[in-house]
């Protein structure tokens, strides 16, 4: 990434300063536009935000007489304030502490729960379709049918299924006749495809 040299930092800061000090109305006026004066009419707001550490106004504006006297005591040396008084003064100025602002909520449990509920409902719908809607499975999906399909190795079955079919055709269930037939077919294909070269 760009290495911030001292010269670069200096120029960046200078640009920031000029942008901040000359607001856009001043720049526009200096270039010959007639611009009305800009007045800030916003109310000071209190917000608890990590990136606004010192809000525009204190949290408690209207103070009770006890709080008023505490504020007067704050004007003296702070070493004379007790721990509870310091904490009370903090709570007058701010609503939450930084850790309180940043603590996580339990919202994720609601979100995850909602997702699982909808997944479950979808599962119910899918099961109902399987029972009441779909027609019977075609016989071409049976293992012995697939074992007899030409190119039984990984060419037209995916890797794991092709190997599984090879295993099936050499082992139990497909009857001795079938597996010999399959080997014959396999050899025949190899001859057809490879034999001409």
């Amino acid at each position: 990434m760009l290495h911030l040299t001292a010269g670069r930092v200096g120029s960046l800061l200078a640009r920031r300063a000029t942008a901040a000090l000359t607001n856009s109305s001043v720049r526009m006026a200096s270039h010959g536009h007639d611009v009305a004066e800009m007045v800030d009419m916003s109310q000071p707001l209190y917000v608890d935000r990590v990136d606004i550490p010192l809000p525009d106004r204190p949290y408690k504006d209207t103070l009770s007489p006890a709080e008023e006297s505490l504020k007067q005591k704050e004007k003296g040396p702070w070493s004379q304030l007790s721990k509870e008084e310091k904490l009370a003064l903090y709570r007058l100025k701010f609503c939450q502490t930084f850790p309180e602002m940043q603590e996580p909520s339990a919202e994720w449990k609601t979100v995850l729960g909602g997702i699982f509920i909808f997944l479950g409902l979808t599962g119910l719908v899918v099961w109902w379709q399987k029972v009441y809607v779909y027609p019977a499975r075609p016989r071409t999906f049976d293992d012995d049918w697939q074992a007899k399909q030409k190119c039984i190795d990984t060419v037209c079955h995916d890797r794991s299924h092709g190997l599984w079919l090879l295993f099936l055709s050499f082992s139990r269930g497909l009857a001795k006749n079938n597996h010999e037939e399959v080997i014959l077919l396999y050899t025949q294909i190899k001859l057809e495809v490879v034999g001409f070269f």
């Binding site: 990590v50 990136d51 071409t140 079955h157 057809e192 495809v193 001409f196």
Partner: protein
């Protein structure tokens, strides 16, 4: 042909399809790299603890993320155009076959030397012999010689159809009243399947295309046999 739960293209059986496979790999790699980078940036931004409140603009990054995408697009466009022009090259076919789409079957005519024509209907599922492919097998296959440039002229007799074979990288619309042409070379012997690719009515899913590529001698034997039978 395709296998169950297949995600990628079928193995190429023609030089053009090989080019398309490699181009797809190239474009997909670019897409994956960009997506990974964007995903990383999103995660980094979302998990960052600090906020910079004074970011207004930045000329340097604006230049980078304008110029770099332009370069990437050029890198994608150049191979794409190359393949596009490759498809349209003048070649000298050894054989011309006419493929006509009907509702709901294909008919093939080999009229270079003798008059040979036949229909190709899908084999119904209950008539399949064990081991055949459901919805893909046909009673008569379009047999072609291997490693020869073939020209196929495609049209339709009733409604729109489309003659497509993924392994050869071919998909051409069959338009009634119009003759479309495609040429290809099949690099290896074998049987290649495709399905009608333009909605044409009730049995649109049940009019497959089967091309069988065989050595020239076998092709000559087959065509003599077919002419005798007719």
């Amino acid at each position: 042909m395709a296998h169950p739960s297949q995600l990628g293209f079928q193995d190429a059986a023609s030089p053009l399809m090989e080019e398309l496979l490699h181009f797809h790999d190239h474009a997909l790699m670019i897409v994956i790299l960009i997506s990974t980078m964007v995903l990383y940036i999103i995660l980094a931004m979302v998990t960052a603890k600090l906020t910079d409140k004074l970011v207004l603009d930045s000329q340097e990054i604006e230049i980078i993320w304008t110029v770099l995408p332009a370069i990437i697009l050029i890198l994608i466009a150049l191979p794409s155009l190359r393949i596009s022009y490759l498809m349209d090259e003048i070649n000298d076919p050894h054989l011309t076959i006419k493929a006509m789409g009907h509702q709901w079957y294909w008919s093939y005519e080999y009229t270079d030397y003798e008059d040979l024509g036949f229909d190709s209907y899908m084999t119904p599922t209950q008539d399949l012999t064990p081991g055949q492919f459901r919805l893909l097998e046909a009673d008569h296959r379009m047999v072609t010689p291997v490693e020869s440039p073939i020209r196929v002229l495609i049209s339709a007799e009733d409604v729109l159809h489309s003659w497509a074979i993924p392994a050869l990288g071919v998909k051409v619309d069959a338009v009634p009243g119009r003759l479309n042409q495609t040429t290809f070379i099949i690099s290896r012997p074998g049987v290649f399947f495709g399905q009608c690719s333009e909605i044409c009515g009730a049995n649109h899913s049940f009019m497959p295309i089967v091309v069988e590529a065989v050595p020239l001698q076998h092709f000559e034997n087959w065509s003599s046999l077919m002419i005798e039978e007719a």
